[in-house]
């Protein structure tokens, strides 16, 4: 039932077929009932008329017989009564059985002889007289006309039956007044009626079935293209733009198909145009980056040669050479980062996982960041539960993430210590980098991973980062199917948590390190 209602809700065909069948059921029911009542009325009327006519003649012949024997002797009358009974219960071929019920009522006639007045009251077929309705008997007794009534009577040796009772008052000479009833079985009539009922209901059901079938066929013609369109649209969503609808005629469905195909064509061409555009753009960025490398190499070497000789220069030129080298460094980092970003944008960044120990990698990164930083005073501590955490990941990328997180923390640490935590579970590993420096405004949290975004534009750049570091770190983490989250409060520092699957590419099931540090309420 549940499945049926679901089908009704989801399938247009089922909906249309169900409502059509329900409506036609109503119509067939109404017309069928009307037809049946007319037919049965007709049958009953014909039956009644013929029965009445026959009964009429039976009564008439009985009266005539008794009239003839008015002055005859009792045995003759008795014989006449018997004949009347026999002839009245005689059935024609087309008739069902017929019973007779004869009953004397009122006072018997006076007899001149010294013998008892004979009583011819009788009934045939084991008819149970007590089941006769009183109404017709009263009517018969009080009138001289033929009376009739439909009733249900009992028989002693067979089932109760619906019958037509036709009665009349009759006088039997030397006996008394009698009510004479002819009881017509309605079996035949009922059989006819049930045949009509069967025929009508069969026709009705066949009609409904056919209507349902036709509706289904018609609906299918309409629904099929719709379904086809839906399935093609689905394929479009999955990125397959090669599918088209079949257009075989020139009706509305074909119009739908053509419109759909036109839409598909225009979508496909626009998407391929956009793809091409982005490819061209990506290619351009990549080419520019590559083309810049050769002159940059020459520049770097030249600057290094000059820098190597700076002791022999006058102080301003020596300082200039230092600035030149430093700025070339920065320029190069920017170029590298731009190239990396363009790879992510073009979705050509490739993951090259190897097995390595994350702890020793982090320790190495801390060492490198510490030696290359000018803030030797800042202490970086690392907490880890186990000595070694083997993971399968792209070492170059994980190293880059760690360097970015650490140098970002150093940039904002304001000479306060930095704490690195490593927690691993069976399926994932998390690294938290916590500083207690300037922190991040809550509103800025969502933007820390944006490209070239700076927490405070007025703040001087201590380290001269490229502004792409965190954004690249996030892309690197996501390439592993990992995540990088940031938390911060102004004046309370920041917490960056990197969560990676132990095996790159698998899903991360949870976050072993809570982003929000323990001593801060959750709702801030």
């Amino acid at each position: 039932m549940n499945r049926f209602t679901t089908r009704l809700r989801t399938s247009l065909a089922s909906k249309v077929i169900t409502s059509t069948v329900l409506f036609s059921l109503g119509v067939v029911w109404l017309t069928g009932s009307a037809l049946y009542s007319q037919l049965s009325d007709g049958v009953k009327e014909v039956n009644l008329e013929s029965s009445l006519a026959e009964a009429q003649s039976s009564f008439f012949s009985a009266q005539y017989q008794f009239l003839l024997t008015e002055s005859a002797a009792t045995p003759v009358i008795t014989k006449a009564v018997q004949e009347v009974i026999i002839s009245s219960t005689e059935v024609s071929l087309s008739q069902d059985r017929k019973s007779i019920f004869l009953n004397r009522f009122g006072r018997p006639f006076k007899n001149t002889l010294k013998v008892a007045t004979p009583d011819y009251s009788t009934s045939t077929d084991g008819l149970d007289v007590s089941s006769f309705p009183d109404e017709i008997r009263k009517k018969v007794r009080s009138s001289d006309l033929v009376e009739y009534e439909y009733a249900k009577v009992r028989y002693q040796d067979r089932e109760d039956a619906n019958v037509l009772i036709i009665g009349r008052k009759i006088v039997i000479p030397k006996s008394g007044n009698y009510e004479m009833y002819l009881v017509y079985s309605l079996n035949n009539q009922n059989r006819t009626l049930s045949i009509i009922t069967n025929a009508l209901s069969f026709t009705g059901f066949a009609l409904i079935f056919l209507i349902g079938l036709i509706t289904w066929l018609v609906v299918r013609q309409v629904v099929k293209p719709v379904r086809e369109a839906a399935s093609i649209a689905q394929k479009f969503t999955q990125g397959d733009f090669s599918q088209r609808m079949k257009v075989e005629s020139s009706d509305e469905i074909a119009t739908l198909g053509r419109a759909f195909n036109d839409m598909a064509l225009s979508l496909e061409s626009q998407i391929s145009r956009l793809e091409n555009l982005s490819r061209v753009q990506q290619r351009f960025v990549s080419d520019v980056s590559h083309e810049l490398r050769t002159p940059l190499t020459t520049l770097r070497m030249a600057s290094e040669v000059i820098y190597g000789q700076r002791d022999s220069f006058d102080p301003t030129i020596a300082r200039s050479s230092e600035l030149l080298v430093a700025q070339l460094d920065r320029f190069e980092r920017l170029l590298e980062d731009l190239l990396e970003v363009s790879r992510f944008d073009a979705e050509v960044a490739i993951l090259e996982p190897v097995d390595f120990d994350l702890i020793s990698l982090i320790e190495r990164c801390i060492e490198d960041v510490r030696t290359s930083s000018h803030d030797h005073v800042i202490s970086i501590t690392i907490d880890h539960e186990v000595e070694q955490v083997m993971i399968s990941a792209d070492m170059r990328r994980v190293e880059r993430i760690m360097r970015n997180l650490l140098s970002n923390a150093l940039d904002h640490a304001e000479e306060k210590p930095i704490n690195v935590t490593v927690i691993s579970t069976r399926t994932e590993v998390a690294v938290g980098v916590r500083d207690y420096g300037a922190g991040i405004e809550p509103a800025a949290l969502s933007r820390v991973f944006d490209r070239f975004w700076r927490a405070d534009p007025s703040r001087s750049r201590v380290r001269g980062g490229t502004g792409l570091g965190l954004s690249i770190a996030l892309e690197d983490a996501r390439l592993h199917n990992g995540e990088l989250d940031a938390w911060g409060l102004p004046g309370e520092g920041a917490h960056f948590v990197l969560t990676l699957p132990r095996i790159a590419g698998q899903q991360i099931g949870g976050r072993p390190i809570r982003l929000q540090p323990e001593n801060y309420p959750q709702n801030i």
Binding site: T298, E352, V354
Partner: protein, 228 residues
């Protein structure tokens, strides 16, 4: 005096490389076209070749293959592309090492060149064996029975590094330090490609190595004598 052939189509960079190398006491032969390399190489064989990937005339990778076909001279590729694909292609063509432009420091370039020219295993002398191979370190020869196997200097160094400490498992980082002279490098592609090349020369069946064994998740080690 050491002679290094610098093959680069960028005149300024080539000149700058010349200045830096000459400053380090190395003679330089400048070539600007890929299709001229082989001729210059034959006339005046250098001790090392610095080879740019993108060259007019003949692609650097092709040049590398041609030189490898007739010499085991150390080749260091210069590439403007850091993409794995190009690096691996260069290494597979027979380059011993590669440097991605722009170099961090000119001194880095010189250090790399010196590493490739130096005998990295100067401390080891005499005969070593690995699996069913015997290595004559002094004579710079590797043979299986009577059959000599030709290896590049780098491949030889790699094999000796493994053979001189049988049983030790070398991480890729350790090999990078030992053979290439890198300190903080995580470039495992270099090791992977060269191990593949070495295996293709010394193994009976490179698919089931018996000389240079892989230790899953860690690195490589020397195969046991005569064992599988």
């Amino acid at each position: 005096m050491t002679l290094v052939m610098v093959v680069d189509d960028d005149q300024d960079l080539a000149e700058m490389l010349g200045i830096v190398l000459t400053g380090a006491g190395i003679d330089v032969d400048l070539v600007s076209r890929g299709d001229e390399v082989l001729e210059v190489f034959r006339n005046n064989p250098p001790d090392l070749i610095l080879l740019d990937v993108m060259l007019p005339g003949l692609d650097g990778i092709e040049v590398c293959k041609l030189i490898r076909a007739e010499s085991m001279v150390p080749i260091v590729m210069l590439s403007a592309k850091g993409d794995t694909h190009d690096v691996v292609r260069g290494l597979e063509a027979g380059a011993d090492d590669y440097m991605v432009k722009p170099f961090r420091h000119p001194s880095e370039l010189i250090a790399r060149i010196r590493t490739r020219l130096r005998r990295t295993n100067a401390d080891v002398l005499g005969l070593l064996s690995i699996g069913d191979l015997s290595i004559d370190v002094t004579g710079h020869e590797v043979s299986r029975g009577e059959k000599k196997i030709a290896l590049t200097r780098l491949e030889f160094d790699l094999l000796v590094a493994l053979a001189k400490e049988p049983g030790r498992v070398f991480t890729r980082d350790a090999l990078l330090g030992e053979v290439w002279g890198y300190r903080h490098s995580t470039d495992t592609r270099l090791v992977n490609v060269h191990v593949q090349r070495l295996r293709s020369k010394v193994e009976h069946d490179p698919e089931h190595p018996e000389i240079v064994m892989t230790v899953r998740g860690v690195g490589y080690k020397a195969g046991v004598m005569g064992g599988s």
